[in-house]
């Protein structure tokens, strides 16, 4: 192990991180204690991937951040856009509001109930346990707040909005969300992680989202990350798909000084299907490490994962796309596509696919493209009177379009288009 990595592996428990809540639930207490022990032994992740180069994030010093002690002050929300669950700096800002019939929300962390239902033990700290990594263990042991969202059997509900807001300089937010769709339920979940500090907060988000899609259930899960240039976020989202269930996962990554985001899907029963669509943009000096891990653990499961990214300015991003099939997963059909657009000669990006296949009778594939804005395309647009800045916007949006078209919800699609445009306009005019 290189010396720098060894030093970081020894990161000791940061004193300010305590967590709390649900103390009357023995299994939960035991899980959190186990997580704390795991934290002490697990190495700090380094995220230094890239072929021939590497991401250069500043070392993540946990002691430079601290969970916000006081409950958050009221947070203004735009009328009509109120979240059902609102977390500010990792803490629940208020009770869940406006829940449709068939949806139950159990608050987690300080202020939540002492006793958790037994069924929660199959989800909380179970889908993403402490063995997932040092920061996942930290989240479990020192969670600052969160919610368990349960959609009852057979219920069909519209969009549930779960919003994380970061606004305090130096805050460490350790939110944990769990979403459970019971048998035959249908729902759309929008999980947003946004910076409300005006971009100036040096905050840390160490987040975990655990998702369980029950038998025959159908979930549309949309997550959006739009953080400021000084924010750091390490988030693992993991979904477990039951028999004949379906998950349509849409991801938008539109900013954050350092982001290490992972989307894991375990297809644990026959007939489960995942359609994942991801869009990411890195600009300024941002460093993004993105992982998509699709794990086929049962026969006859299917997945189609498509990511499309663009890098601007002096940013760097690495996309690790992994498909795993277990020996028993006969009849797996799985495809991973990833595409990269370079918009600056100074940006670094890499896409590293991995297909880990055990057993046979599977159809697993990967396709990738890397491109730059074509000066001939810009010339063509200019020959029609479209100036280079607008032409560049058109070409970047056009590049993302085949991926955006996969997003089933038109409002989400339009929001992603707007976020891409905002990001393109915020970056320099240089092209690779």
């Amino acid at each position: 192990m290189p010396p720098s990595e060894a030093a970081r592996a020894d990161t000791t428990w940061p004193a300010a991180y305590a967590g709390g809540g649900q103390e009357g639930t023995p299994w939960w207490r035991e899980r959190r204690e186990r997580a704390r022990a795991a934290f002490e032994t697990l190495p700090m992740p380094t995220w230094r991937r890239g072929r021939g180069w590497s991401l250069q994030p500043e070392p993540l010093r946990l002691e430079a951040f601290a969970p916000v002690a006081a409950p958050p002050a009221p947070f203004p929300e735009a009328s009509g856009q109120e979240a059902h669950v609102l977390l500010v700096d990792g803490r629940l800002a208020r009770p869940a509001a406006g829940l449709p019939p068939g949806v139950e929300v159990i608050p987690l962390g300080p202020g939540g109930p002492d006793l958790l239902p037994t069924a929660a033990a199959d989800v909380l700290g179970a889908v993403v346990g402490p063995e997932a990594g040092k920061l996942e263990a930290l989240n479990l042991a020192a969670m600052t707040g969160g919610a368990l969202v349960r959609v009852a059997r057979g219920a069909r509900v519209g969009t549930l909005r779960l919003r994380h807001v970061v606004r305090t300089d130096g805050a460490a937010a350790l939110p944990r969300l769990a979403v459970v769709l019971e048998e035959g339920a249908e729902a759309t979940v929008l999980e947003e992680c946004v910076d409300a500090s005006g971009g100036g907060a040096r905050a840390l988000v160490d987040g975990v989202s655990e998702v369980v899609v029950g038998e025959g259930a159908r979930l549309r899960y949309v997550d959006v990350t739009e953080m400021g240039p000084l924010a750091k976020a390490v988030v693992r989202r993991r979904a477990r798909l039951g028999r004949d269930s379906r998950l349509e996962w849409t991801t938008g990554v539109f900013g954050g000084g350092f982001l290490a985001l992972a989307w894991d899907t375990e297809l644990v029963a026959p007939g489960a299907r995942l359609d994942a669509t991801g869009v990411y943009l890195s600009g300024g000096r941002e460093q993004h490490a993105l992982v998509s891990d699709t794990w086929h653990r049962a026969p006859a499961t299917e997945a189609d994962v498509q990511f499309r990214g663009a890098v601007f300015d002096r940013s760097a991003s690495v996309f690790d796309g992994i498909i795993r099939t277990e020996a028993r997963a006969r009849g797996t059909v799985s495809h991973l596509g990833d595409h990269l657009l370079f918009l600056s000669p100074h940006a670094h990006a890499d896409s590293i696919p991995a297909l880990l296949i055990e057993g046979d009778d599977v159809r697993v594939g990967h396709g990738a493209t890397i491109g730059r804005v074509d000066p001939e395309q810009l010339y063509y647009l200019a020959a029609r009177g479209i100036d280079p800045a607008e032409g560049r916007e058109m070409l970047v949006l056009g590049y993302f379009e085949p991926t955006l078209e996969r997003i089933p919800d038109s409002a989400v699609r339009e929001a992603q288009r707007a976020s891409i445009l905002r990001r393109v306009r915020a970056t320099g005019g240089e092209t690779a």
Partner: protein, 257 residues
């Protein structure tokens, strides 16, 4: 009334001289044909007029309505009234035909009136559909990505569609007939004829005389070795069709000795 004046224009690509003193004037209301063998510099001329960054002008001038355009970027030349229909239009995935043309139409409107809010969608789509029908293009065409997976004929007709929607004062058509069957040539030619009038001038670049049987030019020019070596009326095109370009090449070479 627009006037495009090309005066003693020389240009090169990298270190290779291509245009060697071109003189040509096109006014609105006129149709000029520029013919010549492959490699004579016809397409280069169109791209130099439009400001393609791969070419450097080494001498002479190009003026639109008396004002030199050589220092203007390409989009400014287009907004000033120039249009180039490309010989090989490039594909732009993810950008629909309708969105692209509407953006270009709005760029012109904003140039004329900075307060303009853009063409209303309904009005734009009605006009677009009408022009598409004239060019025998299916309505679904508007939603397809620009030139992406288009046949040769579809690409040429899309160029003509843009011409009809943008209404420039001077249009350069770079081999609008190449690679087309005779029916498609007729469609393209009728598109030009429909627009022909006192407010627009055409410079049609072509290798063959074929399209000129449907679009009768007022003047025909022949380019050889980066210069215009002969100008005349429609009969010059017929002469070239009958005899080819070799005699003109020989004359040019003899004159150079």
């Amino acid at each position: 009334m627009a006037i495009l004046e090309i005066e003693n224009l020389s240009a090169q690509a990298g270190e290779t001289p291509i245009l060697r003193g071109v003189d040509l004037t096109v006014r609105s209301g006129e149709v000029h044909a520029l013919m010549g063998p492959n490699g004579s510099g016809k397409s280069t001329l169109s791209n130099v007029i439009m400001g393609h960054p791969a070419y450097q002008v080494t001498g002479g001038d190009v003026r639109l309505d008396g004002r030199s355009i050589l220092s203007l970027p390409t989009h400014e030349r287009a907004l000033a009234g120039l249009f180039l229909a490309f010989q090989y239009p490039i594909a732009v995935s993810g950008v629909s035909v309708a969105n692209f043309i509407r953006t270009a139409v709005n760029a012109r409107r904003t140039r004329r009136d900075p307060e303009d809010r853009g063409v209303p969608l309904g009005e734009f789509m009605r006009e677009l559909r009408a022009q598409m029908a004239r060019l025998d293009l299916d309505a679904a065409f508007a939603g397809r990505y620009l030139n992406d997976g288009f046949s040769g004929g579809e690409k040429k007709r899309l160029e003509m569609l843009q011409l009809a929607m943008l209404r420039p004062s001077l249009a350069i058509l770079d081999e609008p007939d190449s690679g087309l069957d005779i029916d498609a040539v007729r469609t393209v030619a009728s598109g030009v004829e429909a627009l022909r009038g006192p407010d627009i001038g055409f410079l049609i670049i072509t290798h063959y005389q074929r399209i000129l049987t449907y679009v009768r030019p007022d003047r025909v020019h022949v380019m050889v070795g980066g210069r215009i070596v002969r100008s005349g009326g429609q009969e010059l095109a017929q002469e070239l069709e009958a005899q080819g370009y070799d005699w003109l090449k020989r004359e040019t070479e003899d004159a150079a000795v």
